[in-house]
């Protein structure tokens, strides 16, 4: 016993407030209640931090998958050309701009697909030379009609089957307005996006021009090295485009979605952060109770000459240690839990309903920093109340029994 106790003497001494704070935190043998309270407060903080990391990681995972899904079907840059512009001239001008890797003329409009007695409203995309990247996993590269594999599967269509594509713009004939209909053979399929709201089909530009006639608005679908460079390149395009052209980046095309995702994440953060707020309150009561039970000792330290700042720092260190312990445990629990859940795909989803078959977890360093930073600032601030009370105690008040 003697050797153990003597061995506790600090050879390289810690600052006095930290020394006392550590002893108060480790006082399990002599005052288990205080340790229990401190551990409860630390546990609350850990729970809050872990819950925040897990919630935001799940949200980030979902959002990342959703963004990937949506962006794979969105042009990096889309230019809407004014009526009367020669799209080929514009395409060549754009192709010469630095950073542009591909530029393709396209038209876009709405219509109907008819086959086997069924009909479906669709978005019709007329493409130039090659099937654009907006139609991933195409079964063929030959120019022709491409349908989403989801619709083909449901309708029981096969390659080579003839379907009808109907334009909403009629042709005026002596017999009155007649719908424009193109009968086309299915050339291939592409992977339907499960996150998509509307069915799409792709057909050659020549066919699309017949369907939309002169009212067709020509567009340029532009590809760059990556999403970030696309934002940069977009700024250089108006200089080479005819007046009246509208340039939209992938960000503009999905502005509402991205805003909704950001809002969702912010609201989730606020809601789950309430756990940390409760843990902060628990820390205030914990430190106040410790101060009440250690009052004569705090008074004695004052009587021995410890200045008010040292007495305050004891409780700031104590709060800091509880907060640090809680935040670190929460960090390990949250990041470790997210990794495990993602790695082993432990939370599965019905793939027929969702575009994913499991809940993905993506831990972002920025989120973790925000969570830990906000938690530490808020909960550490809670320590100031007890610390201030300790510093303002007159030794005689503390020593009075």
């Amino acid at each position: 016993m003697t050797s153990t106790g003597v061995g506790r003497v600090q050879r390289a001494p810690l600052p006095l407030p930290l020394w006392v704070a550590i002893r108060y935190l480790k006082s399990s043998r002599r005052d288990a209640f205080i340790t229990f309270l401190s551990m409860t407060a630390a546990g609350g903080i850990a729970l809050g931090v872990a819950a925040l990391i897990l919630a935001l990681a799940a949200l980030s995972g979902f959002q990342s998958a959703l963004k990937e899904e949506v962006l794979s079907r969105t042009p990096q840059i889309e230019v809407e050309l004014p009526a009367g512009t020669d799209p080929e001239v514009a395409r060549e001008a754009v192709q010469a701009v630095g950073g542009v890797q591909s530029a393709q003329v396209a038209v876009r409009g709405r219509g109907w697909l008819l086959a086997r007695g069924r009909s479906r409203a669709v978005e019709i995309v007329g493409y130039g030379s090659d099937l654009p990247d907006l139609f991933p996993e195409a079964t063929s590269r030959t120019p022709g009609l491409y349908l989403g594999d989801g619709l083909v599967g449901v309708w029981g269509l096969e390659t080579g089957d003839v379907v009808e594509v109907v334009s909403p713009i009629p042709t005026l004939t002596p017999l009155g307005p007649q719908p424009r209909v193109r009968r086309l053979a299915v050339e291939g399929t592409f992977a339907s996006g499960r996150a998509e709201q509307e069915e799409r089909l792709a057909l050659p530009l020549s066919e699309a021009s017949l369907l939309f006639g002169r009212s067709a608005v020509h567009r340029l679908l532009i590809g760059c090295e990556d999403l970030d460079s696309a934002l940069e390149v977009a700024g250089n395009l108006p200089a080479v485009l005819p007046t009246g052209s509208t340039v939209r980046t992938w960000r503009d095309l999905n502005r509402v979605l991205f805003f909704a995702l950001r809002l969702e994440k912010s609201l989730m953060f606020v809601a789950v952060f309430l756990i940390v707020v409760v843990a902060g309150m628990s820390l205030v009561s914990d430190l106040t109770l410790i101060l009440a039970s250690k009052r004569p000792e705090v008074g004695m330290l004052g009587a021995m000459g410890a200045p008010p700042s040292s007495l305050r720092n004891i409780f700031l260190w104590l709060g800091g240690l509880v907060v640090g312990l809680g935040a670190l445990s929460g960090l390990i629990l949250g990041v470790g839990g997210s990794w495990l859940l993602d790695r082993h795909e432990l939370l599965s989803l019905p793939s027929q309903v969702y575009f994913l078959d499991h809940v993905p977890f993506l831990v972002r360093a920025r989120d973790v920093l925000a969570i830990v930073g906000t938690t530490v600032i808020l909960t550490f601030t809670c320590s100031f109340y007890a610390a201030h009370r300790a510093a303002s105690l007159w030794p005689v008040e503390a020593l009075r029994r």
Binding site: T4, E297, M300, G305, P307, S309, W394, P395, V396, L399
Partner: protein
């Protein structure tokens, strides 16, 4: 090393519900450097209050206290704390040892507060505890020590900084007669050897008579007491 104490017209009152209790009502006190003075009086007469005021643990409603010529009223909280650390050693009835620190660590605390060198602090604490016969109890925690042992640790802690003034509030009040006598003997011995000015508040008339001078606190004032 020792200091003189000089108190003039010290007054202190407490609010007890609606009633204002005037505990000290113009206390005058003069203690010479190196003197050992006992203060006696019935419970609740204000002995501890007077000791707290003389020890810079509290401030009087009126009057002045000077320790070694230094007026306590002139010192702010921070300088007052440093003054207590250097100048005054306290021994209380309930020892007020820190429960999470060993006997050795408790004795080291005043040195740590003063920011003294760690090796020196430990060496001195060991020497003091050996001086009072606790060399085998250095690593024991207060709840593992007897009342007499705890009070001896408290005495070592009070004398750690070699303060010129020792203030003891009922140092034997919580001990059995035998332990009380032993602790009191030890305190007188250490006081004599260190040449410290000492003020002892006690209920025990036998122990009080062993001090150089005896004062009684009655009606909020001090009176010289016959032996």
């Amino acid at each position: 090393m020792s200091v003189s104490i000089r108190a003039r017209g010290v007054r202190k009152a407490y609010q007890d519900g609606e009633r204002l209790v005037q505990v000290l009502d113009g206390v005058d006190l003069e203690v010479q450097a190196g003197e050992l003075v006992a203060i006696v009086g019935p419970s609740g007469c204000g002995k501890s209050t007077l000791l707290h005021l003389l020890g810079a643990l509290d401030i009087p409603d009126a009057g002045t206290v000077e320790i070694g010529g230094q007026s306590l009223a002139e010192l702010g909280p921070r300088r007052l704390a440093a003054f207590r650390n250097r100048t005054i050693g306290f021994v209380f009835q309930f020892q007020e040892l820190l429960g999470d620190f060993s006997a050795l660590e408790n004795v080291m605390l005043p040195g740590r507060i003063a920011g003294k060198r760690s090796a020196w602090v430990e060496k001195r604490a060991r020497a003091l505890l050996e001086e009072v016969g606790l060399q085998d109890r250095l690593g024991h925690f207060p709840n593992q020590l007897s009342g007499g042992e705890r009070q001896r640790v408290a005495l070592c802690r009070a004398l750690f900084m070699e303060p010129p003034l020792l203030l003891a509030d009922e140092p034997t009040g919580n001990l059995d007669p035998e332990s009380g006598a032993q602790v009191f003997d030890l305190m007188l011995d250490l006081q004599a050897r260190h040449g410290t000015t000492a003020l002892v508040v006690t209920h025990n008339p036998e122990l009080a008579k062993r001090c150089g001078r005896l004062l009684a606190l009655e009606g909020g004032r001090l009176h010289a007491e016959r032996r």
